[in-house]
């Protein structure tokens, strides 16, 4: 008989008023006992709707069965048969819209805590397992991967297992892409990211940092160099701005700049790490996605007194994971829903002083299916702020499309691919992740990398 508790086994967390002053991980993870107990809530139902909800189709009930039996290494093997980065996915996947969103237990209570168990299994393996010796038979074919984020790492990991010689080219000095520069330490510890990447390197994947494909070397040159296929996972590295007056004043950051200074360059340990980040007393973050939550919670941790989330729609339309919204509220972030900034004002020295906001009401659904915000005339007001972070999304980075003839792209810059194979208009060039979809999630990017790897393998084997 399954455990019929309507609630997930609670996961211990740092107290909100303690954690909003440190960069240690917020959620502390299950113990063995908690994981085994949660596992008994799975009904092991016939249809397995959770598996269909997973972009990489992890055999979820199978791994949960192993957890229930206390066979954590067995569970790890099941998960990693389909997912190379479980410690990361267990932490940052929007489970409520994916596996857990489909769970039948969710109809009458909370769904099974799949994410929490995935995280436990991965952490258990990392803490206990000896690195296994691997021997893979090489097939003598070379594949290049552009960008060492979730899409690229996954694609590389899949291809190396199939016998290819794989080199990943990364523009920054550190691998990981958004896992390193974007998602903060308190949500995704960086040593864990490093370990997951290491495990892919252990399989034989070569990572070349400091190489900017599109500048240091072009895709055509890689092909001339003997790479028989190229996978482009260059991400959505071009920040969007609001295009309102005052965005170039001092104290206005893109979320990318703000988070990169903190996460990649360790600005929170300034001056030990010499890249500074400036936090005022009152910070406004514009947007309500995961990146906006990350920026707001980071600002709070760096000592801001008041941190606002300013978002033009209502809470219901906010794209962030539920857990991130919840954590942000607990940590004292002030939400201003249905508020749209229209101007940023500065003092004589050009430093941000105020943000002018106009209140909104919800109108008809727009192209995204969400109800669109409509300004309420005459409702303009100013708030005092000294730092503004713009977190309203990113577009694909333009370097690749500018330097790769024959590569068809969407008007907004996304690389156009065949959805089945992820192959672009250019023969032998594949793409996936944010560079195709625009800013999305880690797991969708991983799914794309995996699909592309299968298609590349099929094509190169002939």
């Amino acid at each position: 008989m399954a455990n019929m508790s309507p609630n997930k086994v609670a996961m211990p967390e740092q107290d909100p008023n303690v954690r909003n002053k440190n960069f240690k991980e917020v959620a502390l993870g299950y113990t063995k006992e908690m994981a085994m107990e949660e596992a008994t809530r799975c009904l092991n139902c016939k249809n397995k709707p959770c598996v269909n909800g997973c972009p990489v189709n992890v055999p979820i009930p199978e791994f949960i069965e192993k957890v229930a039996a206390g066979d954590f290494e067995g569970a790890y093997e099941v998960i990693t048969s389909e997912n190379a980065l479980p410690a990361i996915c267990g932490r940052v996947c929007p489970q409520e819209n994916q596996c857990e969103g489909k769970c039948v237990r969710g109809i009458k209570g909370e769904p099974v805590g799949i994410g929490r168990m995935e995280r436990f299994v991965a952490d258990y393996h990392m803490a206990n397992a000896e690195p296994a010796e691997v021997s893979i038979e090489k097939n003598g074919k070379k594949v290049a991967v552009v960008g060492c984020g979730p899409a690229g790492i996954t694609c590389a990991g899949e291809l190396i297992k199939k016998g290819y010689e794989v080199t990943v080219f990364e523009a920054l000095h550190k691998p990981g892409g958004v896992l390193s520069y974007g998602i903060p330490e308190f949500r995704l510890p960086k040593d864990l990211v490093a370990k997951e990447i290491e495990s892919v390197e252990n399989l034989g994947v070569k990572i070349e940092t400091n190489v900017i494909v599109g500048r240091s070397v072009t895709i055509d040159e890689l092909m001339e160099d003997g790479y028989e296929a190229v996978f482009v996972g260059s991400g959505a590295g071009l920040p969007r701005f609001l295009n309102i007056p005052g965005e170039n004043y001092l104290g206005v950051y893109s979320a990318n700049e703000f988070l990169t200074r903190v996460n990649l360059m360790k600005g929170y340990e300034f001056p030990e790490y010499p890249t500074p980040v400036k936090i005022g007393k009152k910070v406004a973050v514009v947007g309500a996605g995961n990146v906006a939550m990350d920026a707001a919670r980071t600002a709070k941790r760096l000592g801001a007194d008041e941190v606002y989330i300013v978002y033009r729609r209502s809470e219901e339309e906010a794209p962030a994971r539920l857990e991130e919204l919840h954590h942000a509220k607990e940590e004292g972030i002030i939400f201003k829903f249905l508020n749209n900034p229209v101007a940023i004002k500065a003092n004589e020295d050009g430093w941000v002083e105020k943000m002018e906001i106009v209140k909104q009401e919800l109108g008809e659904p727009d192209a995204s299916g969400r109800r669109s915000p409509v300004p309420i005339e005459g409702s303009n007001y100013d708030i005092d702020v000294d730092t503004v972070v713009i977190a309203i999304g990113q577009s694909p980075n333009p370097l690749i499309r500018h330097t790769t003839p024959g590569l068809d792209v969407q008007k907004w810059g996304g690389i156009i691919v065949d959805e089945e194979t992820m192959e672009s208009s250019k023969d032998g060039v594949y793409a996936g992740g944010d560079t195709v979809t625009g800013a999305a999630t880690v797991i969708l990017a991983m799914g794309a990398g995996k699909k592309a790897a299968a298609a590349i393998d099929k094509k190169l084997r002939g």
Binding site: H173, T209, P239, F270, K278, G350, L399
Partner: protein
């Protein structure tokens, strides 16, 4: 300083820059490419010791390593076959100007240059420019070399003398470029400037290097670093450059010696 960097040396063109990280904890510092040797796979950088990282860099000896060196970044300069081009350099601005003027000279364009500096010791690359420039003018604030005064004084003299330039390339401190443009605008001489704002990644990701050019926001790292000087909002650039002034100071005391 010459650095062995095959990926950069194979591809770089005048006008482009690199990002260097001296040590494992270091900042990402953008520096312009002064010269390159495709065969030796080396790139030459010239820098002024202004902060923590450049100080650390200056202590490196031959054969030492730096943590990271990435490039080439930015758009190569667009060099036109003109009747006569004048280069104007302030301080280490002479470094990025050098490959641009040399390439113009190779294209058969007669070039002159004005090199400015606080005093004689800050005037760099004079002999290098003399190899291909028809006229090399020097201006120092204290008069220790060449004309006493600013590069703009020499520029005005040349124009007053009736020397016809159909393009000026000015690279140096923002205030110098702003003042050069003030003069060339009056005489309607097209002027390119090279911007070196605060940036992190250099690939368009952070947007920290945004500048207003012709009323539009551009990213210096991917749209530049060269821009039409008449269109650049120098006052905004100068303000943005001061964003981390206090931290630079703190960093020097905190980590410096």
């Amino acid at each position: 300083m010459e650095i062995h960097a095959p990926f950069v040396a194979r591809k770089c063109e005048p006008g482009q820059f690199i990002i260097i990280r001296v040590d494992e904890k270091g900042e990402r510092v953008p520096l312009t490419i002064a010269d390159y040797d495709r065969e030796k796979e080396t790139v030459t950088i010239i820098y002024q010791v202004v902060g923590y990282s450049t100080e650390l860099l200056s202590k490196k000896k031959e054969g030492d390593y730096v943590a990271d060196f990435v490039g080439p970044l930015g758009q190569p300069s667009i060099l036109h076959k003109r009747e006569r081009v004048l280069g104007v350099a302030g301080g280490v601005g002479a470094a990025p100007l050098y490959p641009q003027l040399r390439k113009l000279a190779e294209m058969g364009v007669p070039v002159d240059v004005i090199i400015g500096g606080k005093s004689a010791e800050f005037v760099i690359l004079k002999e290098k420019f003399e190899e291909f420039c028809e006229n090399v003018f020097i201006a120092t604030d204290d008069g220790s070399l060449g004309t006493k005064g600013f590069v703009t004084n020499v520029l005005e003299d040349q124009i007053a003398k009736g020397v016809k330039y159909d393009e000026v390339i000015a690279i140096g401190p923002l205030i110098m470029m702003k003042n050069v443009v003030k003069i060339t605008k009056q005489h309607d001489i097209p002027t390119m400037v090279s911007l070196n704002p605060i940036m992190i990644d250099g690939t368009g990701m952070c947007g920290g290097c945004r500048v207003t050019v012709g009323g539009e926001t551009k990213f210096a790292c991917v749209d530049g670093p060269d821009f039409d000087g008449f269109q650049v909002d120098f006052d905004e650039c100068m303000k943005r450059q001061t964003m981390f002034r206090e931290e630079e100071h703190e960093c020097k005391i905190g980590r410096g010696k």
